[in-house]
Each structure stands twice: as structure tokens, then as C-alpha cells.
């Protein structure tokens, strides 16, 4: 069973491109439909949990499924399995990448790729923004975080990203304690 968990998640790790969300549909396909390790409702639950807890979503899902099947040992086997393929691939790439980038035409290709990365990140942020509830407090926090982050990036002002997140969490908690519900309106961003 442990070996099956390991091999199944190694396959999932090897065949998902584009990160966590792409992996969820593959995990659903294999663990719910084919192997029937967990139910569709479990899968929905773990997706919600994964979104509210830190770390790679794929790791959250693998740990969850593994633990359900075989306790801690199962969680370890599944998590190890999902990481191993990308670890091997990226480690191999990392050994060659520097000399690879010294080839002029590849370096030039990467000048274009960097622009694409910027576009991709803006696109992901915009999609998350569109899905967000448009209430005053979340919008104020978003605007504050956006402005603060640009200020940090383009001036000598030093403030870590994690501190910024802690401030946002504290503001939200303070508003909740003062007004009674996170949905309550108002709230100023420092």
C-alpha cells in the first residue's frame, strides 16, 4: 500500500505542469475515480483546507490522501512521491542552467521569457481579484498591500513581505473584534 501510494503520487508529480491547481484535477481523477481512496466530498474539503493553509497545494492534497490511507507513514510516502520527480528534474536542470544561459541565443530567448513571467503573474493576480468578494475591507487591504509592495520594490523603503501579511491579518482581526464580523464594513489600512 505504501509503495502504491508512493508510485501513484510520483506519477501525479511527474505529469502535472503548471503547479498546484493543475494537479488537483489529476488527483481527483486518480484518487477519487480510479482508486476510490477518497470521496468527491473529501476532495472538495481538502481543496478548501489547502486554500486556507500555507504551502504547496499539491503537498496538502498528497498528505491528506496518504494520511487517510495509511496514517503518518502513508502521508510521508505520498508527499515524498509527489516531490521526488520535480526534485530530480530541477536538480538536474540547476546543474546545467548556468552554462546553458551563457549561450547567446538562449539568453536572448530568456529576455522575452522574463516579460512573459511578468504578464503571467499579473494575470494570476487579476483572476484572484475578480473572484474576491468586493467588500470595503478586503478592497482596502488589497489596495494598501499593492501600494506598499510597489513602494518597497521601487524605493529604498525596507519592509518584508511577511510583515506586510502580518499587518493585514492584524487589521482584519482588529476590525472583527471591534465590529463583530469580518464582513463588517469600514476599516482603514495603515
Amino acid at each position: 500500500m505504501l509503495l502504491t501510494l508512493f508510485l501513484t503520487f510520483a506519477r501525479i508529480g511527474l505529469f502535472t505542469f503548471g503547479g498546484g491547481y493543475a494537479m488537483i484535477s489529476l488527483i481527483e481523477n486518480i484518487c477519487v475515480k480510479q482508486k476510490q481512496w477518497i470521496t468527491h466530498d473529501d476532495m472538495m474539503n481538502v481543496t478548501v483546507i489547502a486554500e486556507s493553509t500555507p504551502g504547496p497545494i499539491a503537498i496538502n492534497c498528497a498528505t491528506f490522501v496518504g494520511y487517510r490511507q495509511k496514517g503518518i507513514a502513508g502521508a510521508l510516502a505520498a508527499t515524498f512521491g509527489v516531490i521526488l520527480p520535480s526534485f530530480v528534474i530541477i536538480y538536474t536542470i540547476s546543474v546545467f542552467l548556468d552554462s546553458f544561459l551563457e549561450i547567446v541565443w538562449i539568453a536572448n530567448a530568456f529576455k522575452g521569457i522574463r516579460i512573459a513571467v511578468g504578464i503571467l503573474i499579473v494575470d494570476v493576480g487579476a483572476k484572484m481579484f475578480l473572484k474576491m468578494p468586493k467588500k470595503p475591507l478586503p478592497c482596502a487591504i488589497l489596495a494598501g498591500a499593492f501600494a506598499a509592495m510597489l513602494l518597497i520594490n521601487f524605493s529604498s523603503f525596507k519592509f518584508s513581505t511577511i510583515s506586510l501579511m502580518l499587518v493585514a491579518a492584524a487589521v482584519s482581526l482588529a476590525v472583527f473584534l471591534l465590529k463583530g464580523a469580518p464582513e463588517a464594513k469600514g476599516g482603514e489600512k495603515p
Binding site: I49, V95, I119, F146, A148
Partner: protein
């Protein structure tokens, strides 16, 4: 010591990366630039490589940064550190704290974190787009090529979504941008 720095740096990333891989990119950028491990350009290149290779993007970036700074052992340590919080938190949630996430105070904190992360992601994307795409046109030598590339790639990426059913995938955009970069800057 580099191993300790790698462990602590990526443990922080693992603890605060709510909102998936793109939520982690600003954190990794912060850690990597503040320790001076990679240049902004190399990190961006590696984000593209991570997006185009299998596996979780966060794990890919941790493995690469660890390897580039301290070889195989560094890669192991950084990968272990970035995964550890997610692993432990899921086990805790499942075994002990089934209702913890429904707690109203936890919810209040999460509702503050989510919009903050969206703001941070948008600002990071804009910073990269400005640095690589827009600002070169306004520097001394005034290179217009990045600006034209940015406009063209954004037009194709968002336009393809309007024109076709599925639009261009992220890997599709990366491949296209590689060809565009190669054609614009030449091969020698």
C-alpha cells in the same frame, strides 16, 4: 551558515505561502533578494523554468535556489523546509483540529490575508512587467524593443482568450515569448 539560512528562509516561505504557488513567488523573491542569493533576472528565468517543468512551482524554486547556493545538500534542505509546514499543518488539521479552520478568529485572520496576498501578487507582477518591459524604454539608451514585446505578448495572451475558447496556456505564452525574444535580440 548557508544551510541554516536556506532552511530558515524556505521555512518562512512554507509558513506564509497562502494562495498557492503565485502567492509564494513574492515571498521567495523577498528571501532570495534579501540574502543576495540570486539576481532578479535569474529568479525570473527560474520561475519560467518551474512553470514549464512538472511539479509544484514552490518546490521547484526551492530545489533550484538550494542547489545553486549549496549543491545537492542545499537543494535537499530548501525543499524539505518549504514542504514541512504544509505537511505538519495538514496532519494537525486532520488529526486534532478538525474545526480549527472554522473558528471565527482564524477566519478573520484568513480574510485579512487573502486580499493582502492578491495585492502582493499584483504588485510583484507589475514590478516585473515594469522592470523588464516598460522601464528600459525610459533609460538613457531608450531601448524600445522590450516595450513592443510586452505589448505584443500581452495582446496575444489576453486576445487569444477572447478569440479562442481556451486561449493560450502559460507554457504556450512562455514558448511564444522565447521565440519572440530570440527573434528580437538575434542569435549572436
Amino acid at each position: 551558515m548557508i544551510y541554516w539560512d536556506l532552511f530558515m528562509g524556505f521555512l518562512k516561505v512554507g509558513c506564509f505561502s497562502f494562495g498557492g504557488a503565485y502567492g509564494a513567488i513574492p515571498l521567495i523573491r523577498d528571501v532570495v533578494l534579501s540574502y543576495g542569493w540570486l539576481s532578479e533576472e535569474t529568479l525570473t528565468d527560474m520561475i519560467a523554468v518551474s512553470e514549464s517543468t512538472p511539479g509544484p512551482i514552490m518546490v521547484n524554486l526551492a530545489t533550484y535556489v538550494g542547489s545553486s547556493q549549496a549543491g545537492f545538500l542545499g537543494a535537499l534542505i530548501a525543499t524539505f523546509a518549504v514542504v514541512l509546514p504544509a505537511f505538519i499543518i495538514i496532519l494537525l488539521v486532520m488529526a486534532l483540529l478538525k474545526t480549527a479552520l472554522k473558528n471565527k478568529y482564524v477566519q478573520a485572520v484568513l480574510q485579512g490575508l487573502k486580499p493582502c496576498i492578491v495585492g502582493i501578487i499584483l504588485a510583484t507582477g507589475c514590478t516585473m512587467a515594469l522592470n523588464y518591459g516598460v522601464l528600459p524604454a525610459f533609460r538613457e539608451n531608450g531601448d524600445m524593443r522590450p516595450l513592443i514585446l510586452t505589448a505584443g505578448l500581452a495582446f496575444l495572451y489576453f486576445g487569444s482568450r477572447k478569440a479562442l475558447k481556451k486561449g493560450l496556456s502559460p507554457i504556450g505564452l512562455i514558448l511564444l515569448s522565447a521565440c519572440a525574444g530570440f527573434l528580437t535580440y538575434g542569435y549572436v
